[in-house]
């Protein structure tokens, strides 16, 4: 441990509590409290009710949740495939090619997501590829945004992967495709898992690009939360926010439960 003295340790904990509680924990707790309230009196919300939740799990809200889930799962899977492919390809390239490819895939992180949203909107509002007004334009934008993260975390893992495994496999007579399927991908599985979780969480919470693009029949949950609070329905918005939070956390928990044998190394 870095801090040895007893008082030092207590001070560290106290400092942690002072910083963490108001900045991270309290706002989330207030949302949870607000989601059970009818009105706000003084410093605290009041009148415990579950009405917002009963409303939130049917009709428009339920549909927004499934929309978000379908968008996030699709975007994550596509992003993971493309990102992994690019990471493997860039590892096989020379230094120059690798730099260019990595920079290209980092672009959506560097560019504000509103700009990505606008770019996608402008690019796909005209034939030949007319996606505007369909769900696909939302899914496409999410994919573009999260692929950057998938690529980044998978390529970090590819770089860490010891080439001796690959060489041992090749020395045993395995062709490159066999090595990829039986050695490299299984060894990368823990990182692929983590990348999938990251992509899913990012897509579940994406608002700014989505706002530019969503068609009336494909309205993800963050947009619904925004419009609800914008209308002044703070408590309904809070209930939806708690549901979004819970759904994302549950999905991340499920992904992290997928233990892989390679992670026991």
């Amino acid at each position: 441990m870095l801090v040895h003295s007893r008082t030092g340790r207590w001070t560290a904990w106290a400092l942690f509590a002072v910083l963490f509680v108001p900045l991270f924990a309290l706002p989330l707790l207030v949302i949870v409290a607000a989601s059970f309230s009818t009105h706000w009196s003084g410093a605290f919300p009041s009148g415990p009710t579950t009405a917002h939740y009963t409303a939130a799990v049917r009709g428009e809200s339920l549909q927004a949740l499934t929309t978000s889930l379908v968008t996030a799962v699709t975007a994550s899977l596509v992003a993971l495939t493309v990102g992994t492919w690019a990471a493997l390809a860039s590892a096989a390239m020379g230094r120059r090619g690798r730099r260019i490819l990595d920079a290209l895939f980092m672009l959506p992180v560097a560019v504000p997501s509103v700009v990505v949203g606008l770019a996608v909107l402008v690019a796909f509002s005209q034939p030949p590829v007319l996606l505007n007004g369909t769900r696909w334009i939302v899914i496409l934008a999410h994919t573009v945004l999260v692929t950057a993260f998938a690529h980044q975390s998978v390529s970090a893992a590819v770089r860490r992967l010891d080439p001796m495994y690959e060489q041992a496999a090749a020395g045993l007579g395995a062709r490159p495709s066999y090595v990829l399927l039986r050695v490299r991908l299984p060894l990368l599985l823990p990182s692929l898992n983590a990348a999938a979780g990251l992509c899913f969480a990012l897509s579940m919470g994406e608002l700014s690009a989505t706002m530019m693009l969503y068609p009336p029949d494909w309205l993800p949950l963050p947009v619904l939360i925004f419009t609800a609070t914008d209308r002044g329905s703070l408590f309904t918005g809070s209930a939806l926010a708690v549901i979004l939070m819970a759904a994302t956390l549950l999905a991340l928990l499920a992904v992290s439960r997928i233990r892989t044998r390679a992670s026991f190394r």
């Binding site: 090749a170 045993l172 395995a174 490159p176 066999y178 044998r261």
Partner: protein, 350 residues
């Protein structure tokens, strides 16, 4: 079976630095050839050129008479074991051993028997269902060897296979490797090591490498008793190298005349005299050298004496002494004429 390896003028360079310089070497079918040298001598590069992990800048590599220079590693029919074992951590021991057979699409019905055979050969049959992480270093190395043998390779490439093991395990594994080679007499083995004991114990012939070049090649006895270069003499067996001048009937060293076989050396030229420390005796005899003791080391069954003879340090390994000479005392060393080897011109300080 077509085994045997031939290097035909193989050079390898990394970004302008030559790491292997024009290697010509033939490993006969069924022969164990040790590539012995310090780190950076090019020995591992030579092995990787056979495996196909480095592409020679020039020259050809042949396996079993077939030019494999342009073939990818998976088409070369090799078995390879590396220092870090490189067992696949996500596969059990039996799946690790079966890996090469499955990759090469061996008949499905044959695989279990061949896996069992390879594990039996290396004494690892009881561990078939374990994961590599559940095994000790020595056991992992046995599995790595079983995995390489299961595909029945033409040549077996061993890259410092024992250097990650502790001393006791190492001597045990040396005996195992010697036994395995007796059981597989057709397989050529290329054994890369920096440890002269491993090379002397296991190899039919040793190729000594230094500074990207082949320095010497011969049977272990040959290299040990009749080294051709100073590098071989000092790297294999840590010899005394004394700068001498060739005389009519022997050599001159620091004023003393020594009788050594010097058949074709021209009198008056300088040369290096190589004498093994364990062949130097304490006390008077033929070829006596007088000097002052500078250090005494006790090594269990022997004493190592460092004696300064006219500015040169001479090492002598003598049977454990009852009374060790005190530092600074004058002693006489001797060696038999037939135990010395005269190396070509050039002066080096032992």
């Amino acid at each position: 079976m077509n085994s045997g390896i031939r290097f035909d003028g193989v050079s390898v360079a990394y970004g302008g630095t030559t790491v292997l310089d024009h290697l010509d070497l033939t490993v006969e079918p069924g022969e164990v050839m040790a590539l012995l040298g310090p780190s950076g001598s090019g020995k591992t590069t030579a092995l990787r050129a056979v495996a196909g992990f480095v592409r020679p800048a020039s020259g050809r590599v042949f396996i079993g008479g077939q030019d494999v220079t342009a073939l990818p590693p998976y088409k070369r029919g090799i078995g390879m074991v590396v220092q870090q074992y490189a067992l696949f951590p996500h596969l059990r021991v039996d799946a690790n051993v079966a890996f090469g057979l499955k990759a090469q699409k061996a008949p499905k019905a044959e695989i279990p028997a061949r896996v069992a055979e390879a594990l039996e050969m290396t004494g690892m049959a009881a561990y078939a269902r374990r994961y590599p992480r559940e095994l000790s270093g020595g056991q992992q190395q046995r599995v790595a060897i079983a995995r390489a043998l299961a595909i029945r390779p033409r040549v077996l490439l061993l890259d410092e296979p024992l250097s990650a093991l502790d001393a006791r395990l190492r001597s045990g594994m040396l005996a195992e490797l010697a036994r395995l080679h007796r059981e597989l007499p057709d397989v050529s083995i290329l054994y890369v090591t920096h440890d002269q004991v491993e090379a002397l114990t296991l190899a039919d012939r040793i190729a000594v490498m230094d500074k990207a070049r082949l320095q010497d090649c011969g049977t272990p006895q040959d290299l040990y008793r009749r080294p051709r270069t100073e590098f071989t003499a000092s790297f294999v067996g840590n010899a005394n190298l004394l700068p001498v001048t060739v005389a009519a009937d022997g050599v001159l060293f620091e004023g003393a005349e020594l009788k050594v076989p010097a058949a074709d050396a021209t009198p008056g030229s300088t040369a290096t005299l190589c004498v093994r420390p364990h062949l130097v005796g304490l006390g008077d005899g033929p070829n006596a050298l007088r000097g002052r003791v500078t250090e005494v080391q006790w090594r269990g069954s022997t004493h190592r004496l460092y004696v300064e003879v006219g500015g040169h340090r001479v090492k002598a390994d003598v049977r454990e002494l009852r009374e060790t000479p005190a530092l600074g005392t004058e002693v006489t060393l001797h060696f038999a004429p037939q135990d010395a080897v005269l190396l070509g011109a050039g002066v080096a300080d032992g």
